[in-house]
Symmetry: D2
Subunit: 356 residues, 4 copies
């Protein structure tokens, strides 16, 4: 069950219909889980800002680097041009290049892109080498193309799925998580959706309660100071009419949501936030005879509710990834347990997070 | 009383002796509180990385811009050269220039600086215009020079003092707060000290408990969406041998501590973190015949405990600013209440933050 | 005489009417020159993006830090919010704070700003301490207010004037310079105007000719390696409808123009570029009931001609500052010669820059 | 012949022995040229900071983004950790992913790296799609592994070679170019070497002379404003003991060298500079029991000569790429002419660049 089904409330804003990144109209998610034998525990998660030809109709986007110890591909062009032109793909650290090749293949093949000679593939990763034979590089281009093809609206699978198949978070099994917030009409009525791939450490807090500490799963020696090549990828989508500059501001707030779960953005944790606006009025056409584009943008002064929505949805998405993940055995017979929900619920009741 | 005196524990690391920024050897703090008539509620807080001639012996430093809607002076030179050369001074938004002039005066006058022709004053601010007649610009150069001169080691005054005299935080009276963490010897034994000037909004959480929500003090309309020109200044000091690049990484983590108190880095909140190393072996001499400098620096791999210490100390410093602040009446008879401690303690007990 | 009056052509694009930053409609420049006794050689230059209330009608803006060894005030807010709200003021290094106070005074006093409590003064500087008794801090708030008040359209005074009164460039007398470019209608017909305060070193080149080398004025020991606390301030204005992100891209190109004059952005040279759009359709109202703003913006694809115009105008503005400057005696009887124009012209003829 | 063999002198500093990036002790370059049939004109250039195991002995490094319209992989980790851990590989835009996979393969295979699970491949590109069937993605992992294996010290092949096989610069055939500067002992005696992959536009200047304009090869319509997906990659190596912060400062100066050749960093031109120090004393061990590292670093004050050396070597490397390139026919029978050297020399004599 997801966090909210236990009566745990994160923040003060209401969620969207699915409480998922797909609550932002047009956004689609597709995932491929790759589990083979005892040692392969990995996968691919693709996020599409819209279902059309993204190269021909780019969307405003921004990247915020919370901690750069990671291999995110494509960030400098997003920063320079303020938009993204491909699906966002998440996978494991050593498969970023293969995923890039697949994204390029996908883009070159799309009808209308016959003359395209330059593609900025946006591919993020975390390191699932604790449970997955990452050196084996088991992700193929086909896996990625399938994830893109399977992308759809509606509910999103969480936990041990897609790019979260082999990840570890706060010493427990991590994975994919998602959540959303819908602002009241008086604040614009916009939706903010977040999807995360969780693979980081710290001292777990759930809705503020010191669950990690009480479960004694936070020890410095084991979770924090050991070499942690993992990363946390955070994707933030909105339908608010926000340009690249304000998307970057939203992206930076997602880190506060990560902080609220007890994450510390440790040295080895590459934490990246990619934010985009799926607002149809802001699409950037690749080819046009127009030299200017007329856009209606939210003013700076109206951004605060979107910041709050980003923080809340990020916190909840991370927690969902933990709640939905399952105990997993992988490479070298390593086993990583899921968050012990029974004990956790008990602690949350004790701390009045879940009203008894 | 401070947070910890109520039995509230923030994080898992031990504090330093004073639980203050001054636990970092050499660091001094001086404050001047300016309260006049009904309308003047402001002041100055000065932080000195060491007691010597800072211009002649600069210290490694970094600035992280959490949200740039503020007037911090001096950041680009710190970024370029990786060091700071003056006391750090905090005051109100419209008095930054006066404080800069005072810092320049202080530096030009110091023995040994007779030929100095360039001074990078590092001055931060938050907007205390809710309680203070900020347009009157009541801070004088003398106030700033006095704060610098009074700087000393040991316990630091908190709450309505110095640059925190007129600030507002989460709808309650904010102010100056401080805290520290001391790593165990196995992690290097280093100290991290934080001092904050709190003047921002969000939904207050104390050690994770939803105090703001339960006190009904978080309404969007009143606290978050109204024009908030305030800022949160965060100063992070350490004796760890850390260079500018890793200090910038520490600085960025302080934002996670702010997030854990419920801050959202709203549009109008200029949130800046200044981090410096007071480690004596890293002083940068202004004049020397040496063309190189030999330094012993902490490796990247050893940074995570310092990140965690920064997050914890920031969270606790912010809470200390609230716990030590007092109800204040100011400009136009505006009154801002202190955090209602009795009710707060009750809520914290209910949430098991304070063990009954 | 200015560069172009000698038949020297910089680049391939045509200039505007005045070949000045004021060719951008609405932009005004005001200067105050402060020369007293033997030791005071300084001043103030103010650039106004438009003649109205800048705080109430902000303009899109960006800052690019070429080399951050300088004291530019106001950059982080410009970066965060994407706009500027005051006149841009240039002066000497140790008078930045006084200029800020004056800009705040100016803003607080403007009709309509009676309730304003936060002002982001944008003040740049270079260090004229070679010719000026900079430690005496001879700039007063009145000087700055006068420069703002005197601001007007039309021709701009260059050389030893305003903030360029005491500056040194390539070992010769520097100062204020300006230039502009007007794109052909087929490229949008936009104007780019640049104003510079030149106070930096390197090996002077004029339209590519190695003038510095041939005049033997480039020696490492004397011009480059000696402590040079100077800075080069570059202000770029345009009427093209360009947002903050693309203004930052234009700003970064100005450094290429500086490079073409032989500047090397030496360690001690704080090189900052401030770019803004004076396009009336992009004004950002301070107060409005609208939550969104509709703007018509130039597409990324159309930026290249503006980049080229920025580079050309910057190069020519720097050269104009040298051509119009005059030999000056200042502090401690230091004398700095103007560029020896006769010899220079000869060299330029030899190198076919001036067609014989 | 190279620029200097025609008696053309760029700047005022002496070159190293080979006038190549390999003048920096330890640096090696390997190239593979891929020419097949009529349509394949591409290749790979690998730069190795030292000949050992780069992952085990990382080197201080920095990336400066001149214009981010490109696909450089690996930049955020370099920025965060201040070092690089693989060979730098240059290739074409759509082959970055394949090159990354090869760099990962190379690293995983190196003796001593048997347990490595995370590799930050640093791969740059420019778009050779004008002459090369770039959509065919003809670069294989083997090509890249061969380039790395072939890397050696000594003279470097220039022009139509390696990653420069199919590139176009200022409308002429571009390619790979290199140059170096050796500072006099009084300035430290350090070497700065630069290698470029040139594929950009503007108005060509050679040692300041307006060659592009006189050859009528600069027209806006054709060279500048047409969609130019190209990029300029600039690699800067030094043996000076410079840390990541000062390497970033050196990197930013390389753009001034590009500017001096007439480059404008047009919208479509992704211009990246990667700088590293090959100084043996600064190697960063991957595994060590030491928690600190003692390093001897050049002071900020000593950086200016290195900045100047970077600018000069970049300018000369770009020109070498043009002088050594040859007329090439490629995809769709497109033909790109080499710089017409005879006419060019004539123009340079007229402008006194080459003394008659």
């Amino acid at each position: 069950k997801r966090v909210r089904e236990y009566g745990i409330k994160i923040g003060v804003l209401p969620t969207g219909q699915w409480n998922a990144i797909t609550d932002v109209p047009g956004v689609q998610v597709g995932q491929v889980t790759v589990v083979k034998g005892q040692d392969v525990r990995t996968g691919v998660t693709a996020i599409l800002p819209h279902g059309g030809n993204l190269f021909q109709e780019k969307v405003p986007a921004a990247v915020f680097v919370g901690n750069g110890f990671g291999k995110l591909a494509g960030s400098t062009q997003v920063r320079e041009l303020g938009n993204l032109e491909t699906p966002i793909v998440l996978t494991n650290t050593l498969s970023v290049a293969t995923a890039m090749n697949a994204v390029i293949t996908h883009t070159l093949r799309q009808p209308g892109n016959e003359k395209v000679q330059s593609v900025n593939a946006l591919v993020g990763e975390t390191n699932d080498g604790g449970l997955n034979d990452i050196r084996g590089r088991h992700i193929t281009e086909d896996h990625v193309l399938t994830a893109i093809r399977k992308a759809q609206s509606g509910a999103v699978e969480e936990g041990n799925t897609g790019a979260g198949t082999g990840t570890i978070c706060f010493g427990f099994k991590g994975g994919i998580g998602t959540a959303s917030r819908k602002l009241p009409q008086s604040l614009g009525g916009y939706t903010v959706g977040v999807l995360v791939q969780t693979n980081f450490g710290g001292v777990l807090q759930i809705a503020g309660a010191p669950v990690g500490e009480e479960l004694e799963k936070f020890s410095f020696r084991q979770q924090i100071l050991e070499k942690a090549d993992g990363s946390c990828m955070i994707i933030v989508a909105t339908d608010a009419p926000v340009d690249a500059r304000n998307l970057e501001r939203m992206a930076s707030r997602a880190m506060l949501g990560l902080g609220k779960t007890g994450g510390i953005a440790s040295n080895g944790s590459g934490d990246y936030v990619i934010a985009f606006s799926a607002n149809p009025g802001l699409r950037v056409p690749y080819e046009t005879i127009q030299k200017t584009q007329t856009v209606t943008l939210l003013r700076n002064d109206e951004m605060s509710p979107l910041f709050m929505a980003t923080i809340e949805a990020t916190e909840e998405a991370i927690l969902n990834s933990l709640f939905k993940a399952q105990t997993t055995q992988g490479k070298d017979k390593t086993s990583v347990e899921a968050l012990p929900l029974e004990k956790t619920i008990q602690i949350l009741k004790q701390h009045h997070v879940i009203r008894p």
